[in-house]
Assembly symmetry: none
Homo-oligomer: 181 residues x 4
DNA sequence: AATGAATGAGGATTCATTCAT
DNA sequence: AATGAATGAATCCTCATTCAT
C-alpha cells in the first residue's frame, strides 16, 4: 500500500503526464485548466494543490518532461574507442529517437495546427526546389552523385533553424561543408 | 487626397502589419483582439469591418504576409550558367535573408516566448556537445580539419527539423553526406 | 418625375414597409439596424436621416402601420338599418380580415417563435380539454347541442386575453352569456 | 445545514425564479445575462454552471415554470356529478386564477412593454366600440338585455386569439353561439 | 440623398483561480 | 486529499449610432 507521500507523488506525475498530452494536442493556450483536469480524471481545483498556477504547470512540464538531461547524457557518453563516423551516426540516431519518443513535447513547441501546417508547407516546398536544383547539377555532371534529397533537407534545415533560434548560420561555411571545393 | 477605396485598402494593410507585429510578439493566442486594435490605433470593432473574425485575420496574415511566394520565386530563378556551389551559396544566402527579413513571421510559428526559450536552450546545448565531439576527433586526426561548429549545427538542425515537421531524416545518409568514407 | 419631397416620402414608406417585414420575421430585438437597412436595400446610416433611432422607427411602424385607425373606421361605419346579428357577423369578419391582412404586425406583438410556440401549445391544450368537456355534457343531454369547439375556443380566449391585457374578465358573466339559465 | 446537493438545487430554483421575474419585466431579449445574475445576487459566470446558455435558461424557465401541467390537471379533474354550468364557471375561474398567479410568465409571452401597450390599446378600443354597438341595439330592443361589455370582450378576444395563434375562428359560428336565432 | 468608415458601449461566454466543505 | 460552488476579469464579437465625404 502506498504511503501518503507516495500517493501524492504518483498523482503529481499523473497530472504532468496528462498535461503533456493535452498541451501537445491543443497547444498550451488552447488547453483550459478544466481540460487538463478532465484528462487526469480530477477536478480543476485539485490541480492547485499540486501546482501554483497553470503557468507553473507549463513550466514544470517543460522542465520535468523535457529531455535536455537525456540529451546531455546521450551526447556525453564515453565513446572514445569507436570510429568517428560510426559514433556520429549512432549519436544522431539516438537524438532522432529521443525526439521521436517525445513527439508530444516537440509538438508543444509549435503553437497550433495552423502554424505547423504552414511550416510544413514552407519546408516542403523549399526542400523540393533545392533538391531539384541539386539533382539537375548532378545529372549535368557538375556535382558528384549523392543523396540530393537528404542534402536539400539538410541545407534547408540548417538555415531555417539558424534563423528560428536567432543565431543565423554561416552560409558559405555550410556550403563548403557539404560541397568542398 | 486619398479616395475612400484607397484609404480602406491602406487601413487593411495597416491592420495586417499591426497584427503581424503583435502576433510575433505575443503569439497568436496571446494576442487579444484589443491588443491588435490598439497596435493599429483603432477600435476593436473596426477590425470586424475588415476581417470576419480573429481567426480570419490570422489566416490572412499568414497568407498575405507569408513568404512562400517569395521563396518560390527565389528558388526557381534561372541560374543555368553559374557554377553549382556558387548558385547554392547565393540561394541559401537569399533564403537566409528572406527569413531574416521576415523574422516576425518566423516568430509566429512558435507559440510563445516560453517555447522559444526552451527550444533555443535545447538546440544550443545539442550543438555545443556535438561540436565538442567533432573538434575532439579532428584534434585526434581522425577527421579532416573542418568547420566543426557549422557541422554540428547542421547535423543537429537536420535531425530536429525532420522530427518537427513529421518527416524524419535518414540519419546514415546525413552522416555520409558530410563525412563521406 | 418625382419631386424631392415625393422621393423622400417614398423612401420613408419603403423603410417602414421593410421594417415591418423584418420585425415580424425576427422580432423587434432580434432585428439589427443593419438587417433593417439591408431589407430596404440601403445603408444603415441612411435610416438615421429618416428616423432618429431604432426605437423611433419601431414606434413609427407601430403607429403608422398599426391598424387602430382602420379598426375604428371599420367599427364606426353606419349600419343602422341592418339586423344586429348580421352586422355583428360582418363586423367581426372584417376585424378578422384586418388581423389576417396584418399578420406581420400581429407577429410583432409576440417576442419570438419560442413564445409563440409555447402560447400555441397552451391554448391548443386548453381548448381541446374544455371542448371535450362540453361535448361530453352535450352527449349527456345536459347542454343543448351546439358548436362546442367554437365555444371552447371562445371561453378560453376571453379568459386569456383578459389576463394578458391586465383586465380580467368576469367569469360568471362570461358563462351566463353563452349558457344562459 | 444543507447538503451540497440541496444547496445546488436551491440555487437552481432561485436562478429560475429570478429569471422568470426579470424576463417578465424586461422581456427575454431585453434581459442581459448580467441582469439575470444581478437579480439572483450572483455573478454572471455562475449562471453557466447551472445552464448551458441564456437560451437554455429561457427554455428551462418556460418548461419548469410553465403551467401547462397545472392547466392539464385542472381541466381533467373528475367533475362528473356537478351541473355543467357550475363546472364550467369553476373551471374557467380556476384557469383565470392560474393565469393571475402566473402573471409574470404570461408577460414573458409578450416581447416588450411597447408591444403590450399597443395590444392593450388595440383591444381596449375594439371592445369599447363593439360594446357601444351592442348596447345600442339592446336599447333599440333588437337584442335582449345582456352584459354587453362582457359580450364585446368575448367576441373580440375570440377573433384576436384565433389570428394570433394562427388558427382563425369561425366567425358565423361565434356569433351564433352568443346570439342564437 | 446616401455611403461607409469608425466608435464605444454592451452582450454572451470562458476561464484561471479561490475557498468552504 | 479532493470537490465543486463561486468569482471577476478578460475574451471575442455585435450593434446602435455618428460623421466626413
Amino acid at each position: 500500500m502506498a504511503t501518503r507521500r507516495e500517493q501524492a507523488e504518483w498523482r503529481r506525475e499523473q497530472l504532468l503526464d496528462a498535461a503533456l498530452r493535452v498541451f501537445a494536442a491543443k497547444g498550451v493556450d488552447g488547453a483550459s485548466v478544466k481540460d487538463l483536469a478532465d484528462a487526469a480524471g480530477v477536478t480543476a481545483g485539485l490541480l492547485y494543490r499540486y501546482f501554483d498556477s497553470k503557468e507553473a504547470l507549463v513550466e514544470t512540464v517543460l522542465r520535468e518532461r523535457g529531455f535536455l538531461s537525456q540529451l546531455r547524457e546521450l551526447l556525453t557518453a564515453d565513446r572514445s574507442g569507436l570510429p568517428a563516423r560510426e559514433v556520429l551516426a549512432e549519436l544522431l540516431a539516438a537524438f532522432d529517437g529521443l525526439l521521436a519518443g517525445n513527439a508530444e513535447l516537440v509538438a508543444v513547441f509549435f503553437s497550433a495546427t495552423r502554424a505547423r501546417a504552414a511550416l510544413a508547407e514552407l519546408t516542403g516546398e523549399g526542400q523540393r526546389l533545392i533538391g531539384a536544383f541539386l539533382a539537375d547539377r548532378v545529372a549535368a555532371g557538375e556535382l558528384p552523385p549523392h543523396d540530393t534529397g537528404t542534402a536539400a533537407r539538410t541545407l534547408f534545415a540548417a538555415v531555417a533553424v539558424g534563423r528560428a533560434t536567432g543565431s543565423p548560420i554561416d552560409v558559405p561555411a555550410l556550403v563548403g561543408l557539404i560541397y568542398p571545393t
